[in-house]
């Protein structure tokens, strides 16, 4: 189980590096799709069927949206002659990555090892969801009863994102039509 997860994660890391270093954008999008569907398999193995169901559809929608954006633009990756500025950027990013990894190794000490999680806070949720709400799916009981305000905030962010997409894309479209006539 744990070894299988390690294999899938290593494949996901390789696919992520391939997505970042791909020569044209279509192969980058396909490699990103590999990372997303690997995440779906990880969710299935970790006993989270809801997340797997959401993620497998969302990944497809994301791929379609990115492909619709780059549909008739130049699909080529920008050629990169490595200049002085690039050397500074690369070295800075490597230093930052090494620093992050060092502090993550320090911070991970407080976590339980994999598979030995103790239900501290959600013990109450697991015990009482069934009596208090009657929802057999514990995730939905937590989502819509104990943490309803969180979900409301999520709906607000979703609404704001959709409205800002409309504002960014639609107004100029109307103006463009008017000037054409």
């Amino acid at each position: 189980m744990e070894n299988l997860l390690i294999i899938i994660l290593v494949l996901m890391i390789i696919a992520a590096l391939a997505a970042i270093h791909a020569k044209d954008l279509i192969s980058a999008v396909i490699a990103q799709g590999f990372v997303g569907y690997g995440l779906v398999i990880c969710f299935f193995l970790l006993k989270a069927p809801e997340l797997a169901l959401v993620q497998i559809v969302l990944e497809t929608v994301t791929l379609i949206i990115i492909l619709a954006v780059i549909y008739d633009s130049s699909m080529k990756e920008i050629g990169e002659p490595i200049g002085k500025r690039d050397i500074v950027t690369y070295s800075l990013s490597f230093v930052l990555v090494a620093l992050f990894l060092y502090y993550f190794n320090k911070a991970i000490v407080g976590l339980n090892p994999f598979g030995e999680h103790t239900l501290r806070m959600s013990e109450m949720y697991v015990k009482e969801v069934l009596e208090l709400t009657g929802s057999a799916n514990l995730v939905k009981g937590v989502l819509w009863d104990f943490r309803g305000l969180d979900t409301l905030g999520e709906a607000t962010v979703l609404f704001t994102a959709a409205m800002s997409v409309l504002v960014i894309l639609r107004i100029s479209g109307k103006k463009h039509q008017l000037t054409k006539k």
């Binding site: 169901l53 208090l132 009657g134 479209g173 463009h176």
Partner: protein
């Protein structure tokens, strides 16, 4: 964007209806099965996106559809808010009060208000993703002309 060939159109006609029905099932049965409002909503918007890709843009009047989806989006979250507020007037006084009886867990009518919230958030997620996709496609089409 133009439509695809007749084979693709026919198959999409059959499949998108099935995807739509599965999305509705997933949203309604969210409190007893894996699925629920989020997965159901994304499936519903996926059915629409599949139809648009197969049939092309000229087949649909997308501008009116975008207005309709943004109305659905606002209306569903408004109804959810009103139901959440109605908990203040029924029983004990707090927000998101689940005042309907819990029922027997595992049957379809159980969980109090949770199935209603699931259906409403399903409509909202479907409308949001469809709005975003329609806006992108209309913009691409307009700068092309």
């Amino acid at each position: 964007m133009e439509g695809m060939s007749i084979i693709v159109k026919k198959i999409v006609q059959l499949i998108s209806a099935l995807i739509f029905v599965f999305g509705m099932y997933s949203a309604i049965h969210g409190h007893i099965n894996p699925g629920g409002g989020f997965a159901g909503g994304v499936l519903l918007s996926g059915a629409f996106i599949l139809l648009i890709i197969a049939y092309g843009l000229d087949y649909f009047k997308l501008k009116q559809q975008t207005e309709a989806t943004s109305i659905f989006e606002s209306l569903s979250i408004l109804i959810a808010l009103l139901i959440a507020f109605s908990g203040l007037f029924a029983g004990s006084l707090y927000f998101f009060n689940n005042y309907l009886p819990a029922g027997t867990p595992g049957s379809l009518i159980s969980g109090g208000l949770i199935p209603i919230y699931n259906v409403l958030i399903g409509v909202k997620v479907a409308a949001t993703l469809s709005t975003i996709f329609f806006a992108l496609i209309i913009y691409k089409e307009e700068i092309r002309r």
